[in-house]
């Protein structure tokens, strides 16, 4: 019995692939060439520039808000923040690797950074107030 080897199989896969196009000849060369005259090549850098500001304006605050919501749901605000600014906020987490005296203190500057980047200090204060109630 003749044993097929891998090369023969790969060869068959290739030759059958070429056979597919045997009865259908597509020749788009002229059609493409004809259309190229009216097409302007787009600079890759230009094409990616436009979506970025929209991304910054919409997506980053949305992601940030989601992160803050996650913070709010997982962390406890132990202090009354009614008269506190975000920089004074102390957040407590339950991540075991960061546990110190059974509490984890998320650095206020991290919170500040998020709030600053998102320019939603007031919203954050609001969340803090709700959770400190």
């Amino acid at each position: 019995m003749k044993i097929l080897n891998q090369d023969m199989i790969v060869q068959r896969l290739k030759s059958d692939a070429n056979l597919l196009g045997k009865n259908c000849e597509f020749d788009v060369e002229e059609r493409v060439l004809d259309q190229l005259k009216n097409i302007e090549i787009i600079d890759a850098h230009e094409s990616v520039k436009s979506p970025r500001p929209i991304f910054k304006k919409i997506m980053i605050p949305l992601v940030g808000a989601a992160v803050l919501a996650l913070f709010a749901s997982q962390f406890i605000f132990p202090i009354n923040t009614m008269d506190q600014t975000p920089s004074n906020l102390v957040l407590i987490d339950s991540a075991p690797s960061l546990i110190s005296n059974n509490q984890i203190v998320i650095e206020a500057k991290t919170v500040n950074k998020v709030a600053e980047k998102l320019a939603i200090k007031e919203d954050m204060l609001f969340i803090a107030q709700v959770f400190s109630m």
Binding site: L4, A17, G21
Partner: protein, 184 residues
């Protein structure tokens, strides 16, 4: 294959349509064979083929020579295929059960190994096999075209080969009663 392909691409990037036409001539046949397995009629094949090249010309400055030109071309084609197929389903109110590609519509193709592979594997697994064996892309390039991980490509190849090796039609096509499982 074009001699000095990179040079031709560079000229095309500067807006030389004649150079770009050389790329069209070089790649249209192999691309059309792939599209025949993906599109649902020959008109779509032709349209996708044309639009792939037009998009390639339009965005040729974003081509990264780190990758093969064909990898980039197939990435564009693959996106367009999805777009055209969705449009086709919407226009014809088809559900997934009725999805048969051009390759499956043609009777003579039943003797073609790719006809059986197309019937057996999922579209994604089929693409992976095609890119790996026909286009000779490595797993990294295949993963890039299909926007998936390299390990997924490797796993899919392994599973597909096992599946094909057990298929009677595939064995009959080779007209051999060998255990393909051992050699694929």
């Amino acid at each position: 294959m074009i001699q000095n392909e990179l040079q031709v691409i560079k000229s095309a990037q500067l807006g030389n349509p004649t150079c770009f036409t050389q790329l069209v001539v070089a790649y249209q046949k192999q691309l059309s064979c792939y599209l025949l397995t993906k599109c649902f009629n020959s008109t779509d094949v032709e349209d996708v083929l044309q639009e792939t090249f037009i998009n390639a010309y339009k965005y040729i400055r974003s081509y990264n020579p780190q990758w093969k030109f064909s990898t980039w071309l197939y990435t564009i084609a693959n996106r367009l295929v999805k777009k055209y197929n969705e449009l086709y389903f919407q226009q014809n109110n088809l559900d997934t059960i009725e999805r048969t590609s051009e390759i499956e519509n043609k009777q003579p193709n039943k003797k073609n190994i790719w006809y059986h592979i197309r019937c057996m594997l999922s579209p994604n697994a089929f693409d992976i096999m095609w890119f790996y064996y026909v286009e000779e892309f490595n797993t990294k390039e295949t993963a890039r075209i299909l926007h998936c991980s390299q390990s997924r490509v490797k796993m899919s190849l392994f599973r597909s080969k096992r599946k094909l090796a057990k298929n009677k039609n595939i064995k009959m096509l080779f007209q051999e009663l060998v255990e393909l499982e051992l050699i694929l």
